[in-house]
């Protein structure tokens, strides 16, 4: 019997190689399966992204937006940046997908099916800002290693799911719990099955926040595969790598989680500021938690030419990690003077906020409009590149667009 099965499979494999498998077996593929081995030459079609998105890397897939693409208040999928550490999983079987809560500090290891998660726990929707810790890395000097993100590795989408807290409490959290760490199905670039590409997490305080979700939906639809289908942890306001995709397991740890990209200099800053280019020991590096205050002018697109005497309407978003943005300003004279402009309240905590202004130019010429947000604790965006760090994280310098008045 076993032998016959084996022969059958071997024959299938041999024959399918010569016959065009996708067509012959297409009807048998599980829903959500992407049979193209994700080697499709056109990532824009593959991931349903706008042609103006900028491809940084094709193995692993990494793609960012440009400022003017992020004009929507809630970012649609086609403008959402892609950040991957490993290979996008293939052949996801939602019917048999489970999430296990385990770890040293869980009362009793527990496994839930997707259906159980959806029916057993109350669902919530929040707009949550997710920004790559390395957004803006391209501007650090001396340059730092990794994908050279400019300004487009940020977005704010609406996520729907259940509270991580509700599930952790259902399994039971021991008193000595310190951190949660996620584990997912994606494969390491080397295809070594023993290696996880990334397994990060957050302290219990962040894990237990109302807005920290185990999400099933993004912008009202199933989460796109490349963004974590069918289940994603979403922890707004923190480096987006905390928001693990394709979740299968969450460990409640009795120590700071030590999965890949939690250690070394990944997602860490020097605990004390250092001079540019200095080597820093691992023990002197501290894990990044909340992202810093930042803003983006999303309209107009940089390079606009307007007629002398015309006013220019600008708009954009501002966000401040765990905090709210309290004040928004812009400058048209390289930071010599600043004009305040109104900033809206966030749709909910951890959502980005919207600003707009009508700008007057005194005479013809070349201008740059700089935007500067200030958070609720009075911390503002720097005009120059902030503190250098070995991996080039947290560049929250003022964004600049170029304008010509003719």
């Amino acid at each position: 019997m076993e032998r016959r099965k084996f022969i059958g499979r071997a024959a299938l494999a041999a024959l399918s190689a010569s016959l065009g498998t996708e067509i012959v077996f297409g009807r048998n593929l599980p829903k959500g399966y992407v049979p193209l081995a994700l080697q499709h030459p056109d990532p824009y079609k593959l991931f349903d992204k706008d042609k103006e998105m900028v491809l940084l890397n094709d193995k692993p897939w990494n793609m960012e937006a440009q400022a003017h693409l992020l004009d929507d208040k809630v970012t649609p999928n086609k403008y959402i940046f892609i950040r991957n550490n490993g290979l996008v999983p293939e052949g996801i079987d939602v019917n048999n997908w489970t999430l296990t809560i385990d770890g040293e500090s869980v009362h009793k290891e527990k496994t839930y099916t997707l259906a159980e998660l959806k029916s057993k726990f109350k669902q919530y929707s929040y707009q949550l800002t997710l920004e790559c810790g390395g957004n803006g890395r391209a501007e650090f000097n001396p340059p730092t290693k990794g994908n050279q993100w400019t300004i487009g590795a940020v977005y704010c989408a609406e996520w729907t799911g259940i509270r991580l807290r509700d599930v952790l409490e259902d399994a039971g959290i021991k008193k000595d719990a310190v951190y949660i760490g996620y584990h997912a199905i994606d494969q390491h670039l080397s295809r070594d099955p023993e290696k996880e590409p990334i397994s990060r997490g957050a302290p219990m305080a962040k894990a237990l926040q109302d807005e920290t979700l185990l999400a099933f939906k993004m912008n009202g639809e199933d989460i796109p595969l490349v963004h974590g289908y069918p289940l994603r942890l979403v922890a707004g306001g923190w480096p987006a790598s905390v928001s693990g995709k394709w979740l299968q397991r969450i460990s409640i740890r009795n120590k700071v989680h030590d999965g890949p990209k939690m250690t070394g200099d990944s997602y860490k800053l020097p605990c004390n500021p250092v001079a540019p280019g200095v080597e820093v020991n691992e023990k002197d590096m501290c894990i990044i938690e909340s992202m810093p205050v930042k803003s983006l002018i999303t309209h107009p697109k940089t390079g606009a030419m307007i007629l002398n005497g015309k006013k220019l309407d600008i708009r954009g978003h501002a966000w401040a990690g765990e905090l709210e943005v309290a004040k928004m300003e812009y400058s048209i004279d390289f930071g010599a003077t600043w004009q305040a402009c109104p900033i809206e309240k966030p749709a909910n905590r951890l959502a980005w906020q919207h600003f707009s202004a009508r700008v007057d130019f005194p005479k013809k010429g070349y201008y740059e409009i700089w935007s500067r947000a200030t958070d609720a604790q009075g911390t503002s965006q720097p005009m120059l590149i902030p503190g250098w760090n070995p991996k080039g994280y947290l560049n929250n310098a003022c964004q600049r667009i170029a304008i010509k008045v003719t």
């Binding site: 890397n57 501007e139 670039l189 606009a304 740059e368």
Partner: protein, 160 residues
């Protein structure tokens, strides 16, 4: 005697022929059987030909073509050490990850060491020096200061 042996040989030959035909027959039946397991509806033979996979066979020269000083397949600059770099540095990740980075000698060596310690990169042996020299010569750090001018602006008339 002669007659008998010819006859015998003839019948032996006949048996072989029969055996051969039988085996061919069994072979064809077996293949059809296996094929039917794989494709019970014979869809591969029906109606519009199923999308055929067209495999373009590029010859060796084309595969590693250099155009305007760039290795077309990877985008790497054509310079001494190119193929060592292509062969060792594009197996796991894209060449795009290398090209967008700028490092000095210490930086590239540290990156290689990190990949060996954590990402399953193999020992590069004598190729390491060749690769590092190639990277330092072609992808060195640019002095950018604390903040550069806005570059690559595409000017357009804004209609409001």
């Amino acid at each position: 005697m002669e007659n008998k042996s010819t006859k015998f040989r003839g019948s032996v030959r006949g048996t072989y022929r029969l055996k051969f035909i039988l085996w061919c027959f069994i072979g064809v039946i077996t293949f059809m059987g296996i094929y039917l397991m794989a494709d019970p509806t014979l869809s591969a033979f029906k109606g519009q030909a199923p999308a055929e996979t067209i495999v373009s066979i590029t010859d060796e020269d084309d595969y590693d073509k250099i155009e305007n000083g760039i290795h077309v397949r990877t985008g790497f600059i054509d310079a001494p050490g190119l193929m060592e770099t292509v062969n060792n540095c594009t197996n796991c990740h894209s060449s795009k990850l290398v090209i967008q980075n700028r490092m000095n000698k210490e930086g590239w060596i540290a990156t290689i060491k990190w990949m060996q310690e954590t990402q399953n990169l193999w020992d590069l042996g004598k190729n390491e020096a060749i690769i590092v020299d190639y990277l330092v010569a072609n992808y060195p750090p640019k002095e950018m200061g604390r903040r550069g001018n806005l570059e690559g602006i595409e000017w357009y008339l804004l209609k409001e």
